[in-house]
């Protein structure tokens, strides 16, 4: 396995020394994110998220399958994470690294277990036919804070996604092509976002948001907090690392909430823009024109 | 690997307050022999220390002292915020002048220069062997640090490097001395004395060593020859400081041989030839059945001592051995009865501590 390129002693010391003096290498504030950008693809359900030099692509897709035997009324929802050598030479195909496992667990806990997607609404015929929704997460470029970027991409992709419309008439299930009927959005309950704090110093007294890859390599510990804008914690993961004062963690959670609200607003705005863009002289315009009459 | 999970003790509310609990535990643990011993131990505890402190057991995270006059030794660290000396292991406090250290109740062996150790070769490299001595790292034994056959003063040659396996191969046991330590804790061994070298004609037991806790302790003599009972002849015992023990049939030491042959005015080169032929032999000599039995008995004593939490040193082992011989005679089996496990072991330990 190719080894991760380790930062030199000079870099390690300097980053810590600068942090002690309230300085980050890229001149950001401690609780400031790098510029977050989101672009939707032409297809429904493709979200391309860039956070500084970190870039994550998520694509949602759906197909009709047979449900699991023990959950006949629930649709299937999966998140597949792939860290390929494209993101960093230290990643290998086919052999999940610890990072990859932890990211996929976090996404799973944040989005799937928190019930963001109403899986019951994916059921078509109880025990026989359900929608299986899958999100594939591809990390295209890795410059730290993969988790926040990936989570944002997954939620954006799912919110943007439209699955084909279906109808049930006298026991016959029809799945319509997009040409026949406008695809429908998923039944979405709430939008959780991850906010990752990185801790530095012997006692974890310095807390940074959105650490770059260099900073991540030097950090003493991290804590990922997932929240939605209603102030519900979906998941907290501080998996070891330097112990941090409990009070600091509470403050971090509160700051995370404001960040999540910003994310939420940003995503809503982007989604609205996208709808407008798709709408140009489209179906919606026609329909509204008809209504006017 | 034996699993000994004893039945849980009588349910006692774990969430009781600390005061209650320490009272509880006091009577709890000292129920067998602790109660009567308690009086013998001077209760020096000051008011702010808990009852446990009279045994001077410290546990990780416990502040030993915040007095700046002390220096921290092994098993302690200095707290960054308060500059107090804090214990980092569970063990007993020792002090050397102004140096405070904590000897752990048990730990892996940490080599020190001059230690006599028994080790096992695990890897043969181009110019050295890697030896497992039970420490956190493998020790190394350079080719230049052994006695080469054909004269102790001979220089090492390339031929020796090529036939390095003929001296020691993987799995061989040896007794050696720690010659040098690296800053990272790695040890370098040497066997440049006739009392060191390859081990044969005996049996190996591993107990815990000088890292802390029971088992072998550093003492005046780590190696001795003892007369065995039941006509077995003399036996050699090597107590490696690292907790590895070797018990073998006594063979005339090369030094003795040297002395003998010298008196017989044989040429010295001739003698060394004869020494070297046996020095790196991996072939056992013929060992009589009585000798084997007594070797096994000593091994039984060693394990019984360890199982019952007693230290292993010359005094304990010799006394334990005699006790074991007695016990065997008293039991029905006679000299052939060498079993010292279970109750027998406890009996033996009781007899030893009772004195």
């Amino acid at each position: 396995m190719p080894r991760e390129a380790e930062p030199s002693l000079n870099e390690r010391q300097f980053i810590l020394q600068a942090l002690q003096e309230n300085l980050r290498l890229d001149g950001r504030e401690f609780d400031q994110y790098r510029p977050l950008e989101l672009t939707f693809g032409d297809q429904y359900g493709v979200a391309d998220v860039t956070l500084g030099k970190t870039r994550v692509l998520a694509k949602a897709s759906a197909e009709v399958t047979v449900p699991y035997v023990d959950r006949p009324l629930d649709g299937i929802f999966n998140i597949a994470t792939e860290l390929s050598p494209m993101a960093s030479p230290a990643f290998e195909v086919g052999r999940p690294t610890e990072t990859e496992v932890l990211i996929s667990r976090l996404l799973e806990k944040t989005v799937r277990r928190s019930g963001a997607l109403d899986t019951e609404s994916l059921c078509l015929v109880a025990g026989q036919k359900v929608w299986s929704v899958r999100v594939d997460v591809h990390v295209l470029s890795h410059d730290g804070n993969l988790i926040d970027a990936a989570c944002f991409a997954v939620v954006s992709a799912l919110r943007h996604f439209r699955k084909p419309d279906t109808s049930m008439e006298s026991g016959i299930l029809t799945v319509y092509t997009p040409a026949e009927r406008e695809p429908v959005a998923l039944s979405w309950l709430h939008s959780p976002f991850c906010v990752t704090w990185s801790y530095f110093g012997d006692e974890g007294e310095i807390a940074l948001l959105d650490a770059t890859w260099r900073e991540e390599q030097v950090r003493a510990g991290s804590c990922t907090i997932s929240l939605n804008r209603h102030g519900e914690i979906c998941q907290i993961a501080k998996l070891g690392g330097t112990p941090v004062e409990a009070v600091t963690l509470l403050q971090c959670t509160n700051t995370a909430l404001t960040k999540v609200q910003e994310f939420s607003a940003f995503l809503d705005r982007k989604l609205a823009e996208d709808i407008k863009r798709r709408d140009k002289g489209g179906l919606m315009a026609e329909l509204s024109a008809e209504n006017d009459r | 690997m034996p699993i000994t999970i004893t039945a849980p003790k009588a349910v006692r509310p774990s969430y009781a307050t600390a005061d209650n609990a320490s009272d509880d535990s006091g009577s709890d643990s000292s129920s067998d022999n602790g109660a009567d011993l308690e009086g013998d131990i001077p209760m020096t505890s000051s008011s702010r220390r808990k009852e446990d402190k009279s045994y001077s057991i410290v546990t990780p995270g416990e502040v030993i002292t915040d007095d700046p006059q002390w220096m921290r030794g092994h098993g302690t660290y200095v707290s960054a915020s308060t500059a107090a000396i804090v214990s980092s292991v569970a063990g007993t406090i020792t002090r050397t002048n102004k140096l405070l250290s904590v000897r752990p109740l048990r730990a892996r062996y940490t080599p020190e220069v001059g230690d006599l150790v028994v080790g096992r070769i695990v890897e043969v490299q181009a110019k050295r062997w890697r030896v497992d001595v039970g420490g956190s790292q493998l020790a190394s034994l350079p080719l230049s640090a052994i006695n080469l056959p054909g004269g102790i003063l001979r220089k090492r040659t390339e031929t020796d490097e090529l036939q390095i396996r003929t001296f020691f191969a993987e799995g061989d046991l040896l007794v050696a001395e720690v010659q040098q330590l690296f800053s990272d804790g790695g040890a370098v061994l040497h066997t440049r004395s006739l009392k060191y070298g390859k081990l044969r004609n005996g049996v190996f037991v591993a107990v815990s060593g000088m890292g802390g806790g029971g088992g072998v302790v550093r003492s005046r003599r780590q190696v001795w020859t003892m007369e065995a009972a039941n006509g077995a002849g003399p036996l050699d015992v090597v107590l490696g400081v690292n907790g590895f023990v070797w018990i073998s049939k006594h063979v005339e030491t090369p030094e003795a041989l040297v002395a003998e042959t010298k008196s017989a005015t044989t040429g010295i080169t001739n003698l060394e030839e004869s020494v070297s032929t046996t020095m790196y032999s991996s072939q056992n000599d013929r060992i009589g059945i009585e000798t084997m039995r007594e070797i096994a008995r000593i091994r039984g004593v060693v394990t019984a001592l360890v199982e019952n939490g007693l230290r292993v040193d010359e005094d304990m082992l010799v006394r334990g051995y005699h006790e074991a011989v007695e016990m065997a005679l008293l039991s029905g089996g006679g000299a052939d009865d060498i079993y010292l496990g279970g109750e027998r072991g406890e009996q033996l330990a009781a007899a030893l501590t009772g004195v």
Binding site: E4, S104, L239, G240, G241, E245 | T4, S14, S22
Partner: protein
Amino acid sequence: MPLDTSAYSLALLRVDGRRWNELRRIHAQIRTQAAADGSSYLEMGHTKVMCVVTGPSEPGPRRGTTGGAAAGASKAAAEVAVSVVVAGFSSVDRKKRGRGDKRNLELQSTISNALAASLHTHLFPHSVIQVSLHVLSQDGSLLAALINAATLACVDAGIPMTDYVVACTAGSTSTYAAGDESADPLLDLNHQEEQELPGLTVATLGETDRVAVLVCESRVQVGRLEGMLAVGVDGCKQVREILDRVVREKGKRMVLEGTVVKGEGLEDMDLD
């Protein structure tokens, strides 16, 4: 909802009869396995785990463990390699979890990182501390029990550490949606409570308020966090007390038996 929470509001007693701030019975032993460098057995209620620590020792061939995965031979500090084996019979539904199970990997990595932050690994370069944990029975608070058992085994193995890493769980009687301010925090959740109520696992460094591990896997109002965290941290202090007593008793017995030379008290030294 099988868990009847209505009883709680009446008698303030939980399903197993505990009050909100009570731990379950914790029983712990150290040095359970003679052949290991360090070992422990720990029960938190009906959650039972065993731990064996080998090392620090030279890294050998290993499998099924996670730790600093990119560790090379030239590491300046010891690597803490943790493996967790969940026995198939440990829970009600006899489900076998494979080695590659992501939840298991996450557990291992969490324990490894938590221990590594407290253990003085820099004292043992080029070596590995192998921690093997076996889950014999599960009744909630699994991660907490694993961390406690691993800490005890490391203490038994005589590996220097800053302080015990102790863990317990905390929960809340509120459901995630309800913003009821009257919800009580609960200490040390059992399996049933873990299934039904929001909860978190918290591990602290000894008696301090410094949190090494904080894992929350259920939806809960942000306002509930503070209460739960406070109860959890307090529970950790209680757990530390209990674990410390176990270690002290073992040490005391060793002193009495003469295995360990009695330490020199500091009392007489205070004079000079």
